[in-house]
């Protein structure tokens, strides 16, 4: 049963380049400053979490999300600050801990770690790692991160990093433990791995019907019970766009989300998105696009079907204008979130 009072709603951006009203593109630096403005807006509107992705590509502005969140830490009050996601396999767990502990200090305990691979892979060659070692890298670094997260001296050795002996890592946090999620794309192996380490799980649902993840969420709970590990409500993240007018929302989203997916598809080898595919995604799939009412209905349905504890909407895909992005955030905060809770409460009463 969905716990409506404790439901969390997040916004995430991958740091797409922002467009000017005349269609020209802003610089990466301008786009980064826009994100800070949007994070502030989300905070003012009471959104629970603001996530920024880490990418190392020309079409995204943010490669160092902690820095962006550091700026946000000092101009926001209540919102949790997350990286969606930290590519742990090509990072150093000690550095990850240090950066987040610092962000946690700046934000008075609002830092949130999400570890994963993300949808991209360019960080592997960039930082000198071999993608075929992906699983070994992730497992090893997760084990080290988990030790560091306890904030006690660490003794550790592995294949991919220098050993540590009785090593303390600083700064310690005020709360003694960084809130940590594992971001997964739905492979059963990564679900079991998340259960074993005992972290919360956020699932990226970027295509198809959300219900197809139900068995995977069942697997998470079954594994937690069998292995006697902690069990948390599941979080998901999906793409979306909200506007006052349904047709406008659909057209803006089609142009931008399609452009975004197609450009990625070019380098990853998948075919361009057809209108039929897009329409399928917005009607019954994983793009939450339309008026606030339409989007709220669809989010509420997903939360209820999958019994979620948190829903993050990924915004800003493609090259949207600052006005489109900000208005969407406003609609999400002022209309969609309260409406989702209302719908869920109504359904609960009806039952």
């Amino acid at each position: 049963m969905v716990d409506i009072d404790h439901l969390e709603f997040g916004l995430e951006t991958f740091g797409d380049i922002v467009a000017n009203e005349d269609g020209s593109l802003q610089t990466a630096a301008q786009s980064i400053r826009q994100i800070v403005k949007e994070g502030q807006l989300a905070d003012e509107l009471g959104v629970s979490v603001f996530g920024v992705g880490e990418h190392h590509r020309p079409d995204y502005s943010v490669s160092s999300p902690e820095t962006v969140l550091g700026a946000l830490a000092s101009v926001t009050d209540q919102i949790k600050l997350a990286i969606a996601v930290t590519v742990l396999s090509s990072d150093d767990p000690v550095r990850v801990y240090e950066r987040f502990a610092t962000l946690d200090a700046l934000s008075s305990g609002r830092a949130q770690v999400m570890l994963g691979r993300g949808s991209f892979t360019e960080s592997f060659p960039l930082f000198g790692y071999d993608l075929t070692d992906y699983d070994d890298l992730f497992n090893e670094k997760l084990a080290l991160y988990d030790l560091l997260r306890r904030e006690k001296p660490v003794t550790w050795s592995g294949k991919f990093r220098a050993s540590l002996k009785d090593q303390d890592v600083y700064p310690k946090t005020d709360h003694g433990r960084l809130e940590t999620y594992i971001g997964i794309g739905g492979s059963p192996e990564s679900i079991i791995r998340s259960v074993k380490v005992g972290y919360k799980v956020i699932i990226a649902i970027i295509g198809g019907q959300a219900m197809r993840f139900k068995p995977y969420i069942d697997l998470y709970h079954a594994a937690a019970q069998q292995l006697h590990r902690p069990e948390y409500p599941i979080a998901v993240h999906s793409h979306g766009f909200i506007a006052d007018d349904e047709d406008e929302a659909v057209e803006v989203a089609f142009k931008n989300i399609k452009a975004n997916f197609d450009r990625i598809g070019l380098t990853r080898g998948w075919a361009p998105m057809s209108r039929e595919q897009f329409d399928g995604e917005t009607k019954v799939g994983s793009f939450y696009v339309g008026t606030p009412e339409h989007v709220a209905q669809r989010i509420a349905r997903t939360i209820a079907q999958l019994d979620l504890g948190r829903f993050d909407l990924v915004y800003g895909a493609g090259n949207q204008t600052a006005a489109q992005r900000e208005h969407m955030i406003e609609l999400y905060g002022t209309q969609v979130i309260p409406r989702v809770k209302e719908i869920l409460a109504e359904t609960a009463v009806a039952k």
């Binding site: 075929t132 492979s187 068995p215 697997l219 080898g269 998948w270 075919a271 595919q277």
Partner: protein, 228 residues
């Protein structure tokens, strides 16, 4: 082998694709055995929860008790399976080269031929047919439909052995998809990453149209230039 003789389906690989295919095969009424890279214990809960009814097992048992075997592992790992294990078997290659799991192509594949030709050469005693490789796994899961449904999607099926290809085409049909059939394993390249067909979920006429005019696609021209 005739399609009527296929009762037991074996799947090597308990990842996303393997599990989706296991679900489709169960729905189609087959007995399904599936193995991961390690022990049964490692995948037992996953299989029980995600595809109840499928039998979690190990490679040797899966192969020995199956009339048809599906390779659904990362391409970079196929050599972890001994070639002799698939001796005499009808094998479906659902694999592709995929940078994100396989790493640098040259380290996994000889650039002079296609992935399925190399998999066939490695499992030289098996009869290989390539299919289930070009449609996204969630499309496979959501879009299996009965024969005759106007929305039914199609899969490309190709291999060198005429009878094996026909049997696999019937098998694909029983799993919920129409087929476009070729009798040349090397044509598998038409549905590899980079092709307009990769990740596409199309009805038979659309799939056939692109396959028939493959040499006119940008990808087809690139492939043609490389093999010239």
């Amino acid at each position: 082998m005739d399609i009527q003789e296929i009762r037991n389906v074996g799947i090597l690989g308990a990842g996303k694709v393997g599990i989706v295919l296991a679900g489709l095969a169960l729905d189609a009424g087959y007995t399904v055995r599936i193995s991961g890279s390690g022990s049964v214990e490692k995948i037992a809960l996953t299989i029980k929860t995600l595809v109840p009814g499928a039998i979690a097992s190990e490679n040797a048992d899966v192969v020995a008790n199956s009339d048809i075997v599906i390779l659904a592992i990362p391409l970079s790992r196929y050599k972890n399976i001994a070639p002799a294990l698939l001796q005499g078997k009808l094998v479906i290659d659902a694999m592709n080269y995929w940078w994100e799991t396989d790493g640098i192509r040259e380290e996994v594949l000889d650039p002079s031929s296609t992935s399925s030709e190399q998999v066939q050469a490695y499992f030289h005693g098996a009869t290989l047919v390539k299919t289930f490789n070009h449609m996204g796994y969630h499309n496979l899961q959501e879009e299996a439909r009965s024969a005759g449904d106007p929305k039914r999607k199609a899969l490309f099926v190709t291999g060198n052995d005429h009878d094996a290809v026909d049997t696999v085409a019937s098998f694909v049909d029983s799993m919920g998809f129409d087929t476009v059939v070729h009798y040349r394993l090397a044509d598998g390249i038409m549905t590899e990453p980079g092709s307009p067909l990769f990740g596409a979920s199309l009805r038979r006429p659309e799939l056939k149209d692109i396959i028939d005019h493959f040499d006119q696609t940008e990808f087809g021209q690139k492939i043609a230039a490389q093999t010239r």
